[in-house]
Amino acid sequence: MIKIRFFPQGTELKLQKGGQVRQILKKLNLSPTTALVIKDNHLLTSDLFIKDGEEIEIRLVGSKG
């Protein structure tokens, strides 16, 4: 299981399995250039894998006024 925190909403989501960042974003209906994926204060590129038990943060990058 992996845990995802969304910024700035502060909401959390758990996914049963880890996987490649690109696939995780796809499950969330996001593309790699519309969200920052952060782990341990580093940005992750879409080819990297998130293992079970890890936590990531997702920041949507779109300005909305």
């Binding site: 940005l43 920041r59 990058v61 779109g62 909305k64």
Partner: protein, 302 residues
């Protein structure tokens, strides 16, 4: 994924440039994009005083940060729209950024001006995003003029510019198309307006702000939920996903190939402005839109 410049583990992936960068090399890339924009459009000189319009969000704070890094003399301007909690939190982020770096920040309170956005939305029939943009431009111009700034810089990015261009083209909004540019020259003594981030997308500005440790405000304006510009951004994102580089090609292509044609139209369609008798702002109407709006809501606000 490895950094294109140094081969280290990359942190920022940019399909539009067919590249990925580590933190340090991304800073080099970001800086070069801004320098290229400034040089190509002769935005400002090292000795000119620049006022950056800051919202507390990632784009304007990233812009302030990079211009300081490049050695320019930059002050900030925060226009407090008085949209409740949204404006208070945004204002705190702008103030915190300025205080931490000991930078000058001018704060203008729209309630004190008698034209807070919630009042305008409630008592006039104007669309919130449109009238808010108009009010902000008015005060950006006035504050820059009053404080003798040469240049007013805004954090508009490639996503802002391409979504606006798409909207303007779909409706053939000729006056807006004529004016769409990374630089608007100084008129009537008002500061020149520039957009140094126009070559960088929202992903790049967000990545820059995060990697620079900038604490920015990221919530949406409560009035923008149904704004059409968000739909245009979504359409552009879909195109960009399928054809990386579309946004930059679309905008740079417009600037290179179409803008010169529009410029010749501008000369023919130029209308004569005069100065508003109440505030001195250039206008085509007997009094400017903002003075008209102020008088329209004045008696209704308790």
């Amino acid at each position: 994924m490895k950094c294109k410049r140094c081969g280290q583990q990359a942190q920022v992936e940019l399909p539009s440039h067919n590249a990925a960068f580590c933190k340090d090399c991304f800073f080099v890339f970001f800086q070069r994009q801004v320098e290229k924009a400034i040089k190509k459009w002769q935005m400002f000189k090292p000795d000119e005083r620049i006022l950056v319009a800051v919202s507390g969000g990632k784009d304007s704070l990233a812009l302030w940060d990079i211009l300081l890094k490049l050695g320019y003399k930059v002050s900030g301007l925060y226009v407090d729209l008085k949209i409740g909690d949204f404006s208070e939190k945004a204002r705190e982020k702008a103030k915190k950024f300025a205080q931490q770096r000991q930078l000058p920040l001018i704060i203008l309170d729209l309630a004190e001006e008698g034209i807070a956005i919630p009042w305008v939305v409630k008592y006039s029939r104007k669309k919130p995003c449109s009238v808010c943009g108009q009010i902000k431009r008015y005060y950006f111009n006035h504050i820059a003029y009053k404080n003798k700034f040469h240049v007013l810089a805004t954090g508009h990015n490639l996503d802002d510019e391409t979504s606006r261009l798409l909207a303007n083209i779909l409706r053939w909004q000729m006056p807006y198309l004529i004016e769409q540019s990374p630089v608007l020259p100084s008129i009537y003594g008002f500061a020149k307006k520039v957009k140094p981030l126009y070559r960088l997308g929202e992903y790049e500005t967000a990545a820059y702000a995060f990697l620079r440790g900038i604490d920015y405000f990221a919530s949406s304006c409560p009035y923008s939920q149904r704004a059409t510009f968000l739909r245009y951004k979504q359409y552009m994102n879909q195109l960009e996903l399928e054809f990386p580089g579309t946004k930059l090609n679309f905008y740079e292509g417009f600037l290179k190939k179409f803008r010169p044609l529009f410029q010749s139209l501008q000369k023919k369609e130029n209308q004569v402005l005069h100065l508003c008798p109440k505030c001195g702002y250039p206008t085509l109407a007997p009094i400017c839109n903002i003075c008209h709006l102020k008088s329209e809501i004045k008696d209704k606000v308790i």
